[in-house]
């Protein structure tokens, strides 16, 4: 497995529990009250921070476990990286457009922040999954 494929796996493995923990905490806090009244900002920032920290720790751990593993990045890695980023960007555009329309319509800040976070999460998962599929099944020829 190349270094770049390991990084895609780390992104996938870290993003899903991070968002799952966030969604679990927010829903458990709601307890019947409307979601916009639930304090969310600190939890959102903490889960983003924790997922970044976990990615760094996992990457360092992989380097310690297998110090002789190649970190070379070649043409194929770059092409797969671009394909994954391009695919993941789809959700960033959806999130930004949705947030813009929600702000214009006067939605509560809770929903705007959460639609952006959800789309960042989906972008990360779709991008990482695309990269892993391209590494495992082959690079598509159009």
């Amino acid at each position: 497995m190349t270094h770049q494929e390991k990084r895609a796996w780390i992104m996938l493995v870290v993003s899903i529990p991070a968002y799952g923990v966030y969604a679990g905490i927010i829903l458990s806090r709601a307890g019947g009250q409307p979601l916009p009244q639930v304090p969310y900002a600190a939890t959102l920032l903490w889960t983003i921070g924790a997922s970044i920290l976990a990615s760094i720790v996992l990457e360092i751990a992989l380097g310690v476990v297998n110090p002789r593993a190649s970190r070379l990045k070649d043409d194929r890695d770059r092409q797969i990286g671009r394909l994954g980023d391009y695919t993941g960007q789809f959700f960033v555009i959806i999130g930004a457009t949705a947030a813009m329309l929600m702000a214009m319509a006067g939605w509560d800040r809770f929903w705007i922040a959460n639609v952006i976070y959800l789309c960042f999460f989906l972008s990360a998962v779709l991008g990482a999954a695309t990269k892993i599929i391209a590494y495992r099944k082959g690079f598509p020829q159009w």
Binding site: M1, D74, F139
Partner: protein, 76 residues
Amino acid sequence: MVKPTQVTNSIRALRFANGEMTQADLAERIGVTRQTVIAIEQGRYSPSLEMAFRIARVFKVPLDGVFHYPDDPAAE
């Protein structure tokens, strides 16, 4: 539309004909990862033209001695 590549190659045979060169040796000589050599050999990845020339140069054969593309039946 995603479609499989029609390009095939003889890299595996050429490696064995050249002193049983390993995938890692070939990867090092053309400056890519071993996984990329494996993907090219298995037809899961079509290399760039430049990488294809580097591979052919390692085996000292012309480009079509390494990579093959089926004839177009309509042209015959």
